[in-house]
């Protein structure tokens, strides 16, 4: 089973900017970066304008990062960066990801892109088969890390990367994240101050 070394040499993370969803992913990813730094990894942070295809391909070829975290909008066969520029696409340049462990925090990319990546190298690809949906509180967009609504979705999502950084295999990291999602569902089902919104949150978490 593919897993990271005890001290990963480098991890690459893309953090495009442009809308509130990307802003939430950008800031919540800081928690992953903090854990990676504690482990002594070099962080290759393609934030904002740096999340472009040229720089993305160049840095992977040069540094060969063991873990790649991709935040951004996507679809079945591709993932995007800044200004929705396609960074990686099945059948075009997907092999660039083939020797790393990849976690894509994006809609749908596991279905075609993930399968293409997994079939061409000795890496691993973790992503979502359909839409990655999360709720957030519009009144918290200037303080996303204080948004408990978003935390219900983004903490379990972060768990994939955090678990990988703690030397768990890709399969174990995925299971760990599912356990976290289920724990949040259980919390919402059993909490005393149950809000009518909870049923909708559970639907999306599930």
């Amino acid at each position: 089973m593919k897993q990271l070394p005890n001290i990963p040499k480098s991890i690459l993370i893309t953090r495009p900017q442009g809308d509130n969803a990307l802003k939430y992913l950008e800031l919540w990813s800081q928690k992953i970066i903090d854990v990676a730094q504690e482990k002594g990894a070099t962080i290759l942070d393609l934030i904002g304008k740096r999340a472009n295809r040229e720089e993305f391909e160049k840095i992977i070829r040069k540094k060969n990062p063991e873990l790649i975290i991709l935040n951004g909008h996507g679809n079945y066969n591709f993932l995007t960066g800044q200004n929705k520029e396609i960074l990686v696409e099945a059948g075009k340049n997907h092999e660039i990801l083939s020797n790393s462990i990849v976690y894509a925090i994006s809609c749908r990319s596991a279905k075609i892109l993930g399968k293409s990546v997994a079939s061409t190298g000795d890496g691993a690809y973790i992503g979502y088969l359909e839409d990655f949906v999360f709720y957030y509180d519009e009144s918290k967009v200037y303080r996303p890390l204080e948004d408990k609504k978003a935390g219900l979705f983004l903490e379990p999502s972060n768990q994939v990367a955090i678990s990988l950084l703690k030397n768990h295999s890709a399969a174990e990291a995925s299971e760990s994240s599912k356990r976290y999602f289920m724990r949040n569902i259980k919390k919402l089902l059993t909490t005393d101050n149950s809000s009518v919104e909870n049923s909708q949150f559970i639907s999306v978490l599930y």
Binding site: G18, D19, N20, A21, Y24, H73, G74, N75, T80, C107, R108, E130, D131, F132, V133, F134, Y135, Y136, D137, E138, S139, V141, K149, K178, R179, F181, M182, R183, I185, K186, L189, V196, E197, S199, Q200, I202, S203, V204, Y206
Partner: protein, 80 residues
């Protein structure tokens, strides 16, 4: 999603809309590749029956089915 009759689809659309209305209007929703939307925009997509609306209905239908079949409780037990 199982093939539904037009009448069943209309019922489901109304049910999902009612469920989304319980969200605060200040709820942002990151859904699909087109960027985040607000609650009332999601309602408009559901009522228009476009791609975003249909995908959201399918997701909520899956959840409602899991309540009916008990699948969600099995999943909770499995991951506890």
């Amino acid at each position: 999603m199982t093939e539904l009759t037009l009448e069943q689809m209309e019922d489901l659309q109304a049910l999902v809309s009612a469920r989304v209305r319980v969200l605060s209007p200040e709820t942002g929703i990151s859904v699909g590749s087109s960027g985040p939307i607000k609650r009332d925009e999601l309602l408009a997509h559901i009522e228009a029956g476009d791609e975003i609306g249909k995908n959201f209905i399918a997701m909520d239908w899956q959840f409602l089915q899991s309540l009916k079949t008990g699948e969600i409780y099995e999943a909770i037990a499995k991951y506890s």
